[in-house]
Every structure is written in C-alpha cells, then in structure tokens.
C-alpha cells in the first residue's frame, strides 16, 4: 500500500474516490477548499461529476438527488455553510438516504474566522436540523483517519441508509501528514430502494420525507429510532490510551486528542496516572467505554469550544465522578502544556472525587 503525504482535506477527497464516490457538489469556503479542489481535479479523470453548486443549499439538494439513485455522493463545507444545509440534512435522514457531509469547522458563531474550532459538535450530534434524527459522525484525529474514516463513512452510510458526517477542523484539514493510501473498494451493497431505470422490478421507488398519513409519520420515527439504537449498539468507536491504570482521564476528539496525547505522555513521565479517551464516533457517542474504567476518579474534557461534548461525557458518566471542562471557542487551540496544567491542577487540588 502506497505511503505518501497529503493534507487532511485532500485525504478525504482521495478516500472518497477510493470508496467509489463519483459525485461531488459543493460551494467554496475556507478552510476546506483543498477538498473541493481535489474533487474538481480528480473526478473528471474518473468520469465522475464535479459540480460547483450556486450555494450550500443547492449543493445539498443536488446531493439529495444523487443519493436517491443510490450512488455514493458527498459534499463538504465549513460551519456557516453547514448551517445552511440543516433543512436538507433533516430531509436526508427522513428519506433514509446515505450521503457524506464534511464539516471542516471554523471559529464561530456568525461569520467568524477561519481559525480551527470544534464548536459545531452539538449541531453535528444533536441534530442542527429539525426533527428527531441522527447522523453517524466521525472525528478523525490524523490525516490517516481522514482517509480511513471517510471510507468507513460511505460503508456505514450505505449499510444503515443514513447520512454521515466527518467533523474536522482547520488544523486537521490543512495539515499534511504521512498516510497509507486506502485500497479502492468495490461497492457491495444492493440497493433495491433507489430511483432510476425500472426494468427488473415491478414496483416504483419513492424517496419521500413525508408519508401520506400521520400514522405513517410516527411509524417512520419508530423505524428511524430502531435503526439508531442498532447503530448505537454496533458502531461506537473509541481509542483508549493508557487508560488501564489511569486514575484520571482526559476526553478529547479530533486534533485536541493529539494535543492531549502529548500532555498524557508528558504527565506519565512525571508520574501522573493519566489516560485519554478519544471518541472516534461522536454519534453514536462511545459511552460504553466509560464503564470499562471504574477506577477513574475524574475526567477533564478538552474541546476547542465552550463546552459541548462534555455534556455527553457527563451523560455517560452519570454523576459517578466529576467531569471537568477546559476549552474555548472562536479559534483557541489548547497547548499540551496548558492541558497538562489543568489536569495537574485538578489532580493536585484533590478535586477528583
């Protein structure tokens, strides 16, 4: 398998191509333009469709159209552009269409700045759009994972007929890192529900997000929730680092987990029994992992936002031990040293139980 260097944004694009995605719609926005441009440069070579849409709104609906045909399709944007897609994302979930949406988050709220941020966690996992639905949300922490989780996102999207999201940030999108290219896959899923030529079937396919009766609408919700429970049971992904004997743990995702790894290593060298829990799937949130470490006396959730994932950590821990938070939105990146100080402060303050 080939090893090379690539930007995180490009790795997503390259993975999409290798996952058989031949349709990309999107609208420029920093800091994810490399992904848009990777698709612009490469899709034509694969007889694929790259279409710059007139807006994120239109792009999302183009994506919806392709998704209805069952072909692998994606779009990407950054925070304000993702906000514009919320209606359509809700439609995708309702119509049970697989499609990949990439959010290379920037510092908000509002127009904000293109500095890195993780402030769209809630939007991604609690449903920024209306209605009860979920996306499978992945939080890569390396360029390799930008690639691997993109492949997985297409796979699981098809498996569960559900839209998926890669939630990254400007750092992970813009950085280059050594990466092993994924093997191109052949798409296995049969999709009897797709629209298109009606030759070998004696039924019509309808891709709709509003059934005919109120009862069917409730049933749709029941069906969606059953699917979500299944995904929660099967697809929680997490990395636990030096957790086995940890008496305190940092919880962090994406780039912050890398900074936290540095903090953990450094503190371990100083004798602190610290570990790291890194959610790889943000939804389903890997809550099961927390039960595996009953010896942990406290958690510090570190995020590049004002405290979002920390709520899911608290829900997972359910009051068993204190869960602290360190972070800031709008473009702040916590240095390993700062994380270390925070952890040390808590551990030494005896504020663990």
């Amino acid at each position: 398998m080939e090893k090379t260097m690539m930007k995180g944004n490009e790795a997503i694009g390259e993975a999409a191509l290798r996952a058989g995605c031949r349709y990309y719609f999107g609208y420029p926005i920093t800091p994810q333009n490399e992904l848009l441009e990777h698709m612009a440069n490469n899709l034509p070579k694969h007889d694929g469709v790259f279409l710059q849409s007139e807006s994120e709104l239109a792009g999302a609906s183009m994506l919806y159209g392709v998704a209805a045909t069952g072909k692998r399709v994606m779009t990407s944007s950054s925070s304000p552009g993702i906000s514009l897609m919320q209606e359509t994302i809700s439609y995708l979930a309702s119509a049970e269409l697989p499609a990949l949406i990439v959010n290379i988050t920037r510092g908000g709220p509002g127009l904000g700045r293109i500095t890195p941020a993780q402030s769209d966690y809630f939007q991604a996992v609690k449903g920024g759009g209306h209605g009860d639905y979920n996306l499978i949300v992945f939080a890569p922490a390396s360029v390799q994972e930008m690639m691997d989780l993109t492949m997985l996102a297409f796979e699981l999207g098809d498996k569960y007929r559900t839209p998926t999201m890669i939630l990254g940030d400007g750092i992970i999108g813009q950085m280059m890192e050594s990466v092993t290219l994924a093997e191109p896959v052949e798409i296995k899923q049969k999709k009897p529900w797709t629209v298109g030529r009606r030759k070998d079937r004696d039924y019509r396919n309808l891709v709709i997000s509003a059934p005919f009766t109120n009862e069917e609408m409730v049933e749709l919700n029941v069906r969606l929730q059953e699917k979500y429970r299944e995904i929660e049971a099967n697809e929680q992904r997490v990395e636990c680092y030096r957790m086995d004997d940890a008496e305190f743990a940092i919880v962090a995702f994406g780039i912050v987990s890398r900074l936290s790894l540095a903090a953990v290593d450094s503190m371990r060298n100083k004798g602190y029994r610290v570990g790291l829990i890194r959610p790889i799937t943000l939804w389903p949130f890997p809550e099961k992992a927390f039960a595996s470490y009953p010896q942990v006396k406290g958690y510090l959730t570190v995020e590049m936002n004002e405290g979002q994932m920390v709520e899911d950590v608290r829900l997972a821990v359910n009051g068993a031990v204190p869960v602290h938070f360190y972070g800031r939105g709008g473009g702040f990146t916590p240095a390993p040293k700062q994380i270390e100080e925070k952890v040390a402060g808590i551990m030494e303050g005896g504020d663990l139980a």
Binding site: L51, L57, A58, Y91, V195, G196, R198, A210
Partner: protein
C-alpha cells in the same frame, strides 16, 4: 365503440386530492399523457416539490423524489447528472419555483440542465392558504395582503418564463393556460416539447401553465377559471417564448 378519451396509463389508481376545479389535476393529466406518448414511464424520475402537489407521487406512476421546498431543480440536477439516460422532470408551483426556489431555478436554467420543468402558476401559495406569491397580480387579494397586492410595497409580479428565456443556456420555454379545452390542448403540445427538448437535445425545457386555485381566489371554479383567463393572461402572455432547438 372505441375509447377516444380516458385516463392516461402513467397515472396510478389514486384519485386526485385537490379541491374541486383545481387546475393541478389537468396539469397532472397533461404530463401523464406525455409520458404515455413517449413511452417513458419506466425510465423517468419525477421530482415532487412542496405545494399542493407535494403528494403528486401518489398519482404519477413513476419513481419520485420529493425535494425540499424550492429546491426541486437542484434535486433534478443531481438526478440528471447521476442518471443521464433517464428523463427527469420537476412539477413545481409558483411559490416553490419563484419565491423560495428562485436561486435554484435561475441557476439550473443558467446551467442549461437537461431537465423538464412543469411550472404551475396559480398566482398564489395554495397549500398554505392563499398568501402572496411573486406571481400574484397587482391588486390581487391574498391572505397576507388583504387589501390587495400593492406593487409599491411588494414590487410588480415576476414573469419567470421571460426571465428564464433570457438566460443563454435554456432551450425551450413556453407559457400556456389551463382555462379552456382549446388552451389545454395547446398546453399539452408545449408540455410535450418541454420533454422533447430534454430527450432529443439534452436541453432545459420549461412550460409554465397558468392555473386556477378556486379555493384561495375565493371564487367558484368556473369563475376562477375565468379570472385566470381575464386577469392573468394579459399580464402573462401565452405562447412559445423560446425554442432554440426548434422542437415541434
């Protein structure tokens, strides 16, 4: 005896759920007759949009994708790009196509997407109870401007067909009215051409059909149709506006 008029095959068994005298039924029939003629019911995908016709998937006997309000042509763009060999059409109201959907409409037309658009202009938002549409006539009552449309406040109504015709990449644009058998037969020809231009020339075809919404005009069906004839047609002239590929 031979049947000389009947229900097109491309319609399902479901009856129309529109109000008495609503022109949507005629619009549906003309599309279905065209699908019958072209024999494309098995390689056609319809895009249903949000308006009274949101559930036209219950009637057209084709695969249907229901898009978000106003985004019909963007959905159709995705479908056509993914299924270049299938016939793709949208069925859209004036609120959907010209109000919230203005950007998607303009851009799909500007790109010259090879799709067919059936545009039902009934001068108002039917589904939500008769509010102002971009197409509402000057002075016309709506539930949001009960004193009639004041063009100084909300502007003159928009003639979408002409605007779209002015975009270089559109191929076929026509406007007809569903107000009399003669006009309906004329409209049928235009619908057919709007499909032909897609199938034979990979072109963007749109047919605007002036339609009656008796309920929200608060008129009896017969009077509503007459209103369309007398009030709408003078502002929205009928006929072929553009036909660059010479379909006919």
């Amino acid at each position: 005896m031979k049947q000389v008029f009947g229900k097109p095959k491309s319609l399902t068994e479901n009856p129309f759920t529109y109000c008495p005298g609503c022109s949507h039924g005629i619009g549906h029939r003309l599309v279905a007759e065209t699908l019958d003629e072209l024999g494309i019911v098995e390689n056609c995908v319809a895009v249903s949009t949000i308006g009274c016709s949101v559930r036209c998937w219950r009637n057209f006997d084709v695969d249907v994708v229901q898009g978000a309000h106003g985004r019909g042509m963007a959905v159709a763009t995705g479908l056509k790009r993914a299924l270049p060999d299938e016939v793709i059409f949208t069925y859209q109201g004036d609120g959907d196509l010209a109000a919230i959907g203005m950007a998607e409409t303009m851009h799909a037309a500007a790109r010259g997407e090879a799709i067919t658009v059936v545009f039902i202009n009934n001068s108002l938002f039917g589904a939500t109870g008769g509010q102002l549409a971009p197409t509402t006539l000057a002075g016309q009552w709506t539930s949001t401007y009960p004193n009639g449309r004041d063009v100084d406040w909300t502007g003159e109504p928009i003639r979408m067909a002409e605007i779209l015709a002015s975009l270089p990449s559109t191929s076929y644009i026509a406007r007809e009215a569903l107000t009399s058998p003669k006009r309906i037969l004329q409209a049928k020809k235009a619908v057919r051409k709007a499909f032909d231009v897609q199938i034979n020339h990979n072109g963007f075809g749109l047919v605007e059909l002036l339609a009656a919404c008796p309920i929200n005009l608060k008129l009896k069906p017969v009077d509503a149709v007459k209103w369309v004839e007398d009030k709408m047609i003078p502002y929205y002239p009928l006929g072929e506006i553009k036909n660059t590929k010479g379909v006919g």
